[in-house]
């Protein structure tokens, strides 16, 4: 069984190598790096990292958004909206934290997911607040509001764009070509609308849910630096080693300024 798999992997590697070479001949200008076959993941040995993110301490109160500049939005929210910079439940579980492999991953080839990642504009708020996707994956922006928004990501390493989206307009489809962390996105018309986009070259990332949980699935065995990013409290990282088929738990705890001062 094992040798069979090995043979299969070898064949795949060869196939990639050959097509790589073939391409090279075609255009004569392929970068050299591409002709090196990338590793292929042995799916029989992959493990995972599962865990949660919590917040130690009470977050400082955040001022509610003043939407008075846009009556439509004001009407959409009977209660004042708190900017979702720190979303934490009573137990201290922290949502909207991006957890990803920062370091330690070998040079694998990953397929770009076909399905788009959707950012919705609803009641003059972004949903979801944090977006994570893979390079090349379609990023789809929808406008459910009866007002004109503009979507303006301000990346460092990707191309910047800024498109207006009137009510009822068809969704905007874009892609990001390069990996980049925390690309700020905003609506210039409604300055409180802020979001962050994370673009990865690999599928090992997760955004924590309401209960602060995350899972990084199908990680090949190895030692990784896993980083957790929170909008207000910055980044934390930890190193984990995963053996074949192993599932490792991992907990991140962010500290509020008050808590760390103690």
């Amino acid at each position: 069984m094992k040798t069979k798999l090995f043979n299969l992997a070898l064949a795949a590697a060869l196939a990639i190598a050959i097509t790589g070479c073939g391409k090279k001949e075609d255009t004569n200008e392929q970068p050299v790096a591409n002709s090196n076959a990338k590793k292929v993941i042995d799916t029989s040995t992959v493990g995972s990292v599962t865990g949660s993110v919590t917040l130690d301490g009470k977050p400082a109160p955040i001022k509610p958004i003043n939407m008075s500049a846009e009556p439509y939005c004001l009407k959409a929210h009977p209660n004042p909206v708190i900017p979702p910079e720190v979303v934490v439940n009573d137990k201290g579980d922290l949502a909207n934290v991006v957890v990803y492999v920062k370091d330690g991953l070998a040079d694998y080839n990953f397929d770009t997911p076909k399905e788009p990642v959707v950012l919705n504009q609803q009641g003059c708020m972004y949903d979801p607040h944090i977006i994570a996707l893979m390079a090349g994956q379609t990023f789809e922006v929808k406008n459910d509001d009866q007002t004109t928004h503009n979507i303006h990501p301000m990346p460092k390493d990707n191309r910047e764009w800024n498109k207006s989206q009137p009510p009822g307009a068809s969704p905007i489809d874009e892609t990001f070509g390069r990996a980049e962390l925390a690309i700020p996105v905003k609506c210039n018309v409604h300055p409180w609308m802020k979001s962050y986009i994370f673009v990865f070259k690999n599928p090992y990332y997760a955004v924590t849910s309401k209960d602060g949980k995350f899972t990084l699935k199908d990680l090949p065995p190895g030692t990784y630096t896993i980083e957790a990013w929170q909008e207000k409290y910055g980044v934390l990282d930890q190193t984990v080693t995963i053996g074949a088929k192993e599932s490792k738990p991992l907990t991140f705890t962010f500290k509020t300024a008050a808590a760390s001062g103690d």
Binding site: N66, S68, A69, T147, T148, N162, P167, N188
Partner: protein
């Protein structure tokens, strides 16, 4: 038989001694010599033959590969479905057209035949009738009978007939068809008209096919860039039978002579070896590199195309050749070394790679910024900024001081002439009164009258010179601070420390390091201290809020010029001083005055009285002690005063509170352990006198304003043509032999071998001028070299300056080669001098591809990008130049509310007031216009006024959800403007140009990538733009262009209209609070 043995003759030396061997040797030698001479002649001295054959071989191999690839591409493209579809529709269109085409061709052919058939008859008829008409017309009207006769003949002529064999189509001919004169004329006209109609029809019939053909050609050129395989094959064949020969360019063979040699006197044969630079063999589309030829690692493969094809396009090889830019001996082809001119006695060795851009300077010496020459530009910037210009004159660099001296001399001369004339007038009048006769008296009187008129003309001239002086005084800047203010500004003990430890205190300082003894340092410090002004005293200032000051320091844009932080934590621009330790040296009250208005002086300086004026001078004339640009005349003599400090630092128009906060923050910038030894000697008058002499000796006044040294000139040698100085005139001092041997003064060996050349001299001089004093005997210590060590950072700075100096040569090219454009490029050339002088590029991106300092600051990364000052790449097309002139003079656009930006009031960064002279403003405005290809003078385009229904529609659009304009743009409503991020539309009419505005609202990202203004507000519908979003019902049937409608509305916006709009939009009616006003809209 007698045995007669032959007589034995004595040995014949000639017959018996064989010369065969020496002859063999001799002839062998001869053959060898001849062979050797042939070898040398045709091979040894012709290294280019080897290069050419190597090139031809390698290049043809490369082309072979390229042809294969291109052929494959061509096959791919020709077999692509798009191509096939286009080709098929082309064929079918041609087929469709063909039937009609043939029919038309047939008809045209018949018409042509008919015309040809009638040609003789027609000519004959024309001649005959013309003759009869003439005969009729020359008969006088009075001769009735003759006239009637002529008319009769004419009518007979018109009714006579001609016979023509008339083709009727299909090869049929109607024999002898009869035409009268009129019939011939009519037929001819009709044939021509029919023919024209048929040709037009054929054009129509062929049009679809022609359109498809154009699409097809475009498709092919889009998908097959570069040369076709056939052209590549042509190139390859030319390589296969490559004709080895000297390739030569005569630079400017017919143009003006510069050295009586005819033309430029320059012959370039560089391409004989550098074959790849010849576009005949390597067209620009091929752009050959060493790697292409498989010689990537070779040091001996001079075959690449020129790496910067733009440069070659602007400087065609056949006009410029190579050596005019690169240096070297273009004629020499017998060795690499000779060709490159790197041997003794050749005056223009080829520039080394780090100095390549020196080659631009000869023709581009008038530029401050030359495109594609960043190293040279850096050199010029350093020359100005590091203060080289303080001692060394350089033609074209800021020479307002010279103009000023000139203007002042003229003013004095005029005054002298005027006073002489004033004495002459009464003398003449007296003579007139005593004249013997009236004629003489009249003559003398009129002489006197003429003189009075002359005087009034002199007054006018004098006044204009005063105006010019006023401008020049505004333009003159010094590299270093005004030291007349030193006593009020600086901490006393710090001064001597600074003079001796400039780079230790501030590693990035512009101040060069002088080689001073301790005595000299003390004397200079004493002079600076004692010559400093002490009165009127500075206003005492209350302390401010340092935290707020820090915030302002970062937000207002100080870091575009200044830097803060030491070592690797330094942030900010390098144009002005690093302020990390400013608190150690300065006096708080002075910093407040300086930050509030850096141009403010303690006393104005009168150049005619040669002293600083005080309140007492003004009091004598009952004048308040007020001196500024509007009060710039001397109360004593009426001439222009120096009323500003000669600094480029602008005024940020801050409130006094904000100023104090910033000053408090700055004063906190010091090392905690800073302490300086007390320096009582600084009050010794004798020491100060000695210091003054030293200051004069070392040329301190080149960079600083100093009491008593206001009229000092530059003490260094002029460097305008320094690159042409013969090597004998460069003083290598005791290093001549070492330089020839390639040993540096520090004992290390020179990587490029001997450095006994201008480059070597400049490099050593700039790294450390003291080396040329080393080991020398000076009878008087003052004989030592005065040049201080410039504070340059690394080889980059040194090589930039060396490049500038090497390129600063006497022209070797005729005047028409010099870059002195007469068109709008001249405005660009002049404008860059002002732009770089005031560091506009610290805050603004001005040229495409350039980055401002602020764009690189970490503070403006990510979201904060929106707070960057505006990008000005299209400023000339964007704004009305007249508006720009006013804006540059007063960026607050208000005389009362100055603590703000005039346009972008929401930006924290502040556009400062630079107090530019009128001339500088003019140059800047023309610069921006020229950069955007705008015509000069500017004639504002007419904007079609809106009719009532259009106005109603525009109003509805402006407040509709599809056009969220008023959400971001300022409206004058304070509550709303707090969150505004774009200018008020009321400014549009005076400020903007309509065409630009329309391009802008349709796709702003095309003009300024990254702008907060979104793209996609409009979409194309048919041939006009409409809003992408839902528009109000009233607009839905509007047939016109909605973008145009909006622009016209913007340009006609009045404060009342805006107030009404703001009242209407949800922006301010929302939120439950009634707007504090549409009324605020008027400002």
């Amino acid at each position: 038989m007698p045995d007669r043995s032959p007589e034995i003759l004595p040995e014949d030396p000639i017959k018996n001694r064989s010369f065969a061997f020496p002859l063999l040797i001799g002839s062998l030698l001869l053959i060898l010599t001849v062979a050797w001479s042939f070898y040398v002649e045709f091979y040894g001295l012709q290294p280019w033959r080897r290069y050419q054959s190597r090139f031809a071989k390698a290049y043809s191999e490369y082309l072979g590969k390229d042809i294969k690839r291109q052929k494959q591409d061509e096959t791919d493209v020709y077999s692509s479905p798009e191509y096939k579809q286009l080709a098929a529709s082309l064929a079918s269109a041609q087929q469709t057209a063909k039937v009609q085409d043939d029919e038309i061709a047939k008809q045209i052919e018949l018409l042509d035949d008919q015309r040809a058939a009638m040609a003789d008859a027609f000519k004959d008829e024309r001649g005959k009738i013309g003759h009869l008409v003439y005969q009729y017309e020359i008969v006088p009207d009075s001769d009735k009978s003759a006239k009637a006769k002529a008319l009769k003949e004419l009518n007979e002529g018109r009714s006579s007939t001609w016979k023509v064999d008339w083709p009727t189509g299909n090869g049929q001919v109607e024999k002898n068809k009869v035409f009268t004169a009129d019939q011939l004329n009519d037929t001819f006209t009709s044939i021509m008209a029919q023919r024209a109609a048929l040709v037009a029809k054929r054009g129509e019939v062929d049009k679809p096919a022609k359109d498809i053909q154009a699409d097809l050609t475009k498709y092919v050129s889009d998908h097959l860039p570069g040369l076709s395989s056939a052209s590549l094959d042509g190139l390859r064949r030319s390589m296969e039978d490559f004709d080895e020969r000297i390739i030569q360019i005569n630079v400017n063979p017919t143009g003006a002579s510069i050295n009586n040699l005819g033309g430029a006197g320059l012959v370039d044969r560089c391409e004989s070896c550098h074959v790849g630079t010849d576009p005949k063999y390597v067209p620009p589309q091929v752009a050959l590199t060493k790697a292409d030829l498989g010689m990537a690692k070779s040091n001996n493969a001079p075959f690449s195309s020129h790496p910067d094809l733009d440069l070659i396009q602007w400087h065609p090889l056949e006009k410029f050749g190579c050596s005019p830019c690169h240096g070297g001996n273009g004629r020499a082809i017998d060795s690499v070394q000779r060709g490159h001119g790197r041997y003794p006695h050749w005056l223009w060795p080829m520039y080394y790679p780090e100095n390549y851009q020196a080659g631009c300077q000869q023709c581009h010496s008038g530029d401050m910024v030359t495109e594609h020459a960043p190293v040279l530009n850096e050199g010029k910037q350093l020359y100005r900024q590091r203060g080289c210009i303080g001692c060394h004159r350089f033609q074209g660099f800021d020479n307002q001081d010279e103009q000023l001296v000139n203007a002042r001399q003229q003013i004095l001369q005029l005054a002298k002439t005027k006073s002489d004339d004033l004495l002459t007038i009464p003398r003449l009048q007296k003579q007139a009164d005593a004249a013997p006769d009236n004629a003489t008296a009249d003559k003398l009187n009129s002489q006197a009258t003429n003189l009075t008129v002359e005087i009034s003309r002199m007054d006018a001239r004098s006044e204009s010179l005063e105006q010019q002086t006023h401008n020049l005084l505004q333009e003159i800047k010094k590299v270093g601070p005004d030291l007349k203010e030193a006593r009020q500004k600086l901490r006393k003990e710090w001064i001597p420390y600074w003079i001796g430890h400039t780079t230790e205190f501030r590693p990035t300082t512009k101040m060069p390091q002088f080689r001073l003894s301790q005595d000299e340092t003390q004397a200079l410090a004493a002079f600076v201290w004692q010559s400093g002004l002490t009165s009127p005293p500075l206003e005492h200032q209350a302390p401010g809020n340092a935290a707020h000051g820090k915030q302002l320091f970062e937000e207002r844009g100080c870091l575009a010029c200044h830097s803060m932080g030491e070592g690797s934590s330094t942030v900010g621009g390098t144009f002005a001083a690093n302020l990390s330790r400013v608190g150690e040296k300065e006096n708080y009250d002075y910093v407040v005055r300086w930050v509030h208005d850096p141009r403010q002086r303690t006393r104005p300086y009168c150049p005619y009285e040669k002293r600083d004026l005080g309140p007492e001078d003004y009091a004598k004339h009952n004048l308040p002690y007020v001196f500024d640009l509007d009060h710039s005349r001397c109360p004593n003599d009426g001439h222009e005063l120096v009323v500003q400090q000669p600094t480029v630092m602008p005024s940020l128009r801050l409130s006094m509170d904000d100023t104090r906060d910033i000053a408090t923050y700055l004063m906190a910038q010091k090392r905690p352990d800073a302490s300086y030894a007390s320096a009582d000697y600084m009050d010794d008058p004798q020491l100060a006198a000695k210091g003054k002499d030293l200051a004069r000796h070392y040329g301190c006044a080149g960079c600083h304003e100093l009491s008593g040294l206001e009229d000092e000139g530059r003490i260094g040698t002029e460097l305008t043509n320094e690159g042409s100085k013969p090597i004998e005139r460069l003083d290598f001092a005791l290093w001549t032999e070492d330089a020839k041997r390639g040993v540096f003064p520090d004992g290390k060996s020179s990587p490029r071998g001997p450095w006994y050349d201008a480059k070597g001299f400049f490099e050593q001089k700039l790294r450390n001028p003291a080396v040329y004093d080393q080991g020398k005997y000076h009878a008087n210590p003052m004989d030592a070299l005065r040049m201080p060590k410039p504070n340059l950072y690394g080889d980059g700075d040194v090589e930039a300056l060396v490049s500038m100096l090497l390129g600063s040569t006497d022209p070797t090219l005729p005047p028409e080669y010099m870059y002195r454009p007469a068109d709008r490029r001249r405005y660009i050339q002049e404008g860059w001098w002002v732009v770089t002088k005031y560091n506009c590029i610290g805050c603004h991106q001005i040229d495409v591809g350039q980055k401002s300092v602020m764009q690189t600051l970490p503070y403006y990364e990510g979201e904060n990008k929106a707070n960057l000052p505006p990008v000005l790449t299209t400023e000339g097309a964007r704004v009305n130049p007249e508006w720009l002139r006013q804006f540059l003079a007063n960026p607050s656009l208000s005389t009362t509310d100055t603590n703000r930006n005039g346009v972008r009031q929401y930006l924290q960064a502040r556009m400062p007031t630079f107090y530019l002279s009128n001339d500088e403003i003019r140059k800047l405005v023309l610069f921006f216009q020229a950069m955007s290809s705008q015509p000069d003078p500017f004639i504002p385009p007419k904007v079609k006024p809106l009719d009532d229904s259009e106005r109603a529609m525009a109003r509805a659009l402006f407040t509709s959800p599809a056009a969220p304009c008023l959400k971001c743009h300022m409206t004058g409503n304070e509550a709303h403007d707090k969150n505004a991020i774009a200018p008020n539309f009321l400014l549009a009419h005076d400020r903007l140009q309509p065409a630009w505005t329309e391009r802008w609202i349709i796709d702003p990202a095309k003009i300024i990538p990254g702008t907060a203004m979104p793209s996609g507000l409009f979409r194309m519908e048919g041939d006009h733009w409409v809003f992408s979003g839902p528009v109000p019902a009233s607009v839905q049937h509007y047939q016109g262009d909605q973008a145009d409608l909006l622009v016209r509305y913007m340009f006609s916006l009045t404060p009342q209209e805006q107030a009404a709009l703001v009242g209407k939009t949800p922006t301010s009616t929302g939120g439950g609070t009634k707007p504090s006003g549409g009324a605020g809209g008027g400002k």
